[in-house]
């Protein structure tokens, strides 16, 4: 091997070392089934703000270095898009409150992520990867006035396995947490006291 080839090998090796020491990007990817629940006879306009659309969480090592960047905004949108049309008679997706009145919707639904936590086996000493997400669910009138504002938490875990990467395990745990959100949100929506009162007055 000539000197040039040795140099190329050296550069490639250095790049490999640099890349392997950097932050790992995990884009949460999965599919979500449609819930089997009775639809509520309401027309809901849904607003996803940029914070939800582009939500990502950075997990740091114990020494404070960036370890995993978890991008879950896209999968949250995908989840709500699958769940909301199964919960309500009619659903429309809009960008701003101003657009809602022209649609004739009964209410506006705007979900937000308040907190995201990740627990790795290396830190918890348990054989499971865990994801915990806290949401703030907001239901407003078509004019943007308050109807209900409630907190919902979701949890997902997946066992540590020998031949599975940490990234794949984080993805699986996050998908379980998202399914947990879909199940608790769809089954508890009508039980939220303010929502129940509003529904009974329709």
């Amino acid at each position: 091997m000539n000197t040039k080839k040795w140099k190329n090998c050296g550069v490639a090796l250095m790049m490999l070392i640099i890349v392997s020491c950097g932050v790992s990007n995990v884009v949460i990817d999965g599919s979500f089934p449609t819930p089997n629940i009775a639809k509520l006879p309401i027309f809901v306009a849904v607003i996803y703000d940029d914070a939800l659309r582009e939500f990502s969480f950075m997990e740091y090592t114990e020494t404070g270095e960036e370890e995993f960047n978890i991008e879950s905004g896209g999968s949250h949108i995908q989840l709500f898009n699958a769940v909301l049309p199964a919960m309500f008679d009619e659903v429309v997706f809009v960008d701003t409150i101003e657009e809602v009145q022209a649609t004739g919707a009964d209410a506006i639904f705007a979900p937000a992520i308040e907190e995201f936590q990740l627990a790795l086996p290396a830190k918890t000493k348990l054989d499971v990867y865990e994801v915990w997400i806290k949401y703030n669910m907001r239901l407003l009138t078509a004019e943007g006035d308050y109807i209900a504002n409630w907190v919902l938490t979701s949890y997902g875990k997946t066992p540590a396995e020998t031949f599975r990467s940490t990234e794949a395990a984080i993805n699986d745990a996050a998908i379980v947490a998202l399914r947990d959100l879909a199940s608790s949100f769809s089954l508890s929506f009508g039980q939220v006291p303010e929502v129940r009162t509003w529904l009974s007055n329709l």
Partner: protein, 225 residues
């Protein structure tokens, strides 16, 4: 000639390793059965095996659930088994870890929902089997060192550990909405890795044995008399 001798020597070493793997790593499995009611299954009826995932420190692996399902679905007196994920997706959100029925009374309430009863009927589900358990590794000892250099490489040392698989299977009769029995499979085995240049893993197939015995016992239990 030298090359031929070298190949023969390595072939013998490999054969010896395979034989050792087959004979040395042993597993002992105990299966207990507790019957609470009569069972029987028709050819057009199915079973679904679901993993319990409510425990905080472990999770029943979906691979184990698939393994038991495949074991029941083949051989003599094979039983139709609906794949876990297909069933859970079709029933969404009623069989998620947080919403799944924990007792037969919860199942009774769930079956009152028309959509659930209809889907259960479409799948032809006669029994739901809830499997709960995990495999725990303990007693890890010994040390193994591997090194590589310009002249070659190799491993030296000895490692050993014990695996213990414990799984409970609770069987619910969907027609009668009652619990008809419980089967417990407990398998333990010691694994070894001796290494003299080449590491020879002698792995005890603990979880595979627990799966195979549980599948056989479940099949016999559901077919009944």
């Amino acid at each position: 000639m030298k090359l031929y001798l070298l190949i023969m020597k390595h072939t013998r070493l490999l054969s010896a390793s395979i034989l050792l793997t087959l004979f040395v790593s042993c597993t002992s499995t105990t299966v207990d059965e507790f019957r609470q009611g009569e069972t029987g299954i028709e050819s057009d009826e199915s079973v679904v095996i679901l993993g319990r995932r409510q425990a905080s420190d472990y999770e029943t692996r979906s691979e184990f659930i698939s393994c038991v399902g495949e074991g029941m679905n083949r051989g003599e007196n094979a039983i139709n088994v609906v794949p876990e994920q297909e069933f859970v997706d079709a029933m969404f959100p009623w069989f998620e870890p947080r919403t799944a029925p924990l007792r037969t009374q919860d199942l009774e309430r769930l079956m009152a929902e028309d959509v659930i009863a209809e889907k259960m009927n479409d799948f032809g589900i006669r029994y739901i089997v809830w499997v709960d358990g995990s495999t725990v590794q303990s007693g890890r000892s010994g040390s193994l060192t591997c090194a590589i250099g310009p002249g070659g490489g190799g491993c030296f040392g000895f490692g050993t550990w014990e695996d213990d698989s414990n799984f409970d299977a609770r069987i619910w009769d969907v027609g009668e909405l009652t619990s008809v029995g419980t089967i417990n499979a407990d398998a333990t085995g010691q694994s070894y890795i001796p290494a003299f240049f080449v590491p020879i893993p002698l792995i005890a197939r603990v979880e595979a044995n627990a799966c195979s015995r549980l599948a056989t016992q479940l099949k016999e239990f559901l077919i009944g008399n």
